[in-house]
Amino acid sequence: MYLHHGAFSYLPELTDDEIAAQVRYALLKGWPVSIEYTDDPHPRNMYWEMWGLPMFDLDEPDGVLTEVNDCRATFPNHYIRVLAYDASLGRQTTALHFLVQRPKNEPGFVLDRTERVDRRQGYSVRSYATAAPAGDRYPQS
């Protein structure tokens, strides 16, 4: 199942040049950019692991691209996203984030039904991948 996460997720995957162009847009806006990765694609999992620190004071996207490629080399089969944080007063939130890498094989999600008090139905979503322990979820094959 193809995971749609963040901006541009219904577009074809971005090339490196397109990623650089998006990062340049964020930098022109004055948003520091950071990189995060995870192997738990649950939609409610919003705090991913940080790849290094947010990159401040950049004005060209080259530095971000190097870090993205380093992260891809280290975690070739994880989800990796690029975030741009808008620190301006009144916003102070993530202004833009988009995936720059996804695992080759995405098994998708299972819908769990549980019976609660008075035979009411409860629903939850769980990724098939998370059955395996963290780190082994997307084996390289």
């Binding site: 022109l28 080259d62 530095g63 190097t66 301006s88």
Partner: protein, 347 residues
């Protein structure tokens, strides 16, 4: 949170709305305009190309003229800058004929005594390279050993990469580069920095120009200890010390830039001062001249206050002989230590 009218199209490029893109990126290199949508047609074999019609030529000419106006002397350096400009211009012309050639490497080393204009030349060089489309922004990121070398194992690489990231698309100016190499300490992390820089300089895709700067004798030692580095820096530019005449010209320029002027006697006195100062240790060319001019201003201000009468505009802009002769260099030539300790700059 931008005003609705401020960025039509949310700052994205839209064909046909020329003004939108230009305003969001005020200083795009000239080359971008060509590479954006449709590359210019390849010229026929028999065609002729007027180099002076090149858009970049005017900008380069301006930058070179400014270099000439701002910096006195340095003929050797200026010639080399002109050569580099010519090389890139011809390269652009070759591209228009569809002749493929590799991107020239322009990493440089500037060696010269303190105050000979290394930083200024680096700034102008960045402007010129940007005008010719070799780098993407006319910016110089100045770093020293502190900014590159980490304090513990594993700290150096991220720090150096961060500096490279910040300088990306521009010029990375490494001041006092020889401090990166500490032969007396084998485990010094400086060597790691040099290796990372080499890797970056080697890569074809890089748009970074690395400039190593420092004092000549130690730079020579630095490069001889790192032959790999030396061979990857094709342009070694030596900055000569200024002569007495050139220093006098520099002083005139500086004084004029601050809206002051020397009267006739003061100019003679200042040239005497320079002759004496040049003999002394720790003379740092233009920087010493600047400091001397600053101190003349100080003495002028004191003199004007002590005049105790209404001042004219002429009074305010003139530096007289007395202001120059007030320097301690004139009254105690034998006690040089005092001069160096109290009055002079200490670099």
């Amino acid at each position: 949170m931008s005003e609705p009218g401020e960025r039509p199209g949310f700052g994205f490029y839209r064909p046909g709305s020329e003004s939108t893109t230009r305003s969001s990126e005020p200083d795009r290199p000239v080359e971008d305009a060509e590479t954006d949508d449709n590359p210019p047609p390849v010229l026929a074999n028999g065609a002729e190309l007027d180099l002076s019609a090149d858009e970049a030529w005017k900008q380069v000419d301006e930058t070179l003229a400014r270099l000439d106006a701002e910096l006195v002397g340095l003929t050797h350096v200026k010639r080399r800058v002109r050569e580099i400009a010519a090389l890139l211009l011809v390269n652009r012309a070759r591209q228009q004929f569809g002749l493929e050639s590799s991107r020239p490497t322009l990493h440089m080393s500037f060696s010269g005594a303190p105050g000979t204009g290394k930083t200024t030349v680096a700034l102008r060089m960045a402007e010129m390279l940007h005008a010719l489309g070799y780098i993407r922004k006319p910016k110089v990121h100045t770093v020293t050993r502190d900014d590159l070398v980490g304090q513990f194992i594993g700290h150096t690489a991220p720090k150096t990469k961060e500096a490279i990231g910040r300088a990306a698309g521009g010029v990375l100016f490494i001041d006092e580069a020889y401090y990166l190499h500490r032969p007396e300490n084998e485990r010094d992390y400086g060597q790691e920095v040099i290796e990372i820089l080499l890797q970056e300089m080697e890569s074809e895709r890089t748009s970074l120009v690395v400039v190593f700067a420092g004092y000549p004798d130690r730079m020579d030692k630095f490069f001889s200890a790192n032959p790999g580095l030396s061979s990857r820096v094709p342009h070694h530019i030596a900055f000569d010390d200024y002569t007495h005449d050139e220093l006098t010209q520099i002083a005139d320029l500086m004084v004029a830039a601050e809206n002051f002027r020397f009267d006739g006697a003061a100019r003679r006195a200042f040239s005497e001062y320079l002759a004496l100062r040049m003999e002394q240790p720790r003379f740092s060319n233009a920087r010493s001249v600047r400091n001397a001019v600053e101190r003349c201003r100080l003495r002028q201000a004191k003199r004007l206050i002590e005049l105790d009468r209404p001042l004219t505009k002429d009074d305010l802009i003139t530096i007289t002989e007395k202001d120059v002769y007030g320097s301690s260099i004139f009254d105690a030539p034998e006690s040089q230590t005092e001069e160096a300790g109290t009055d002079e700059d200490s670099d």
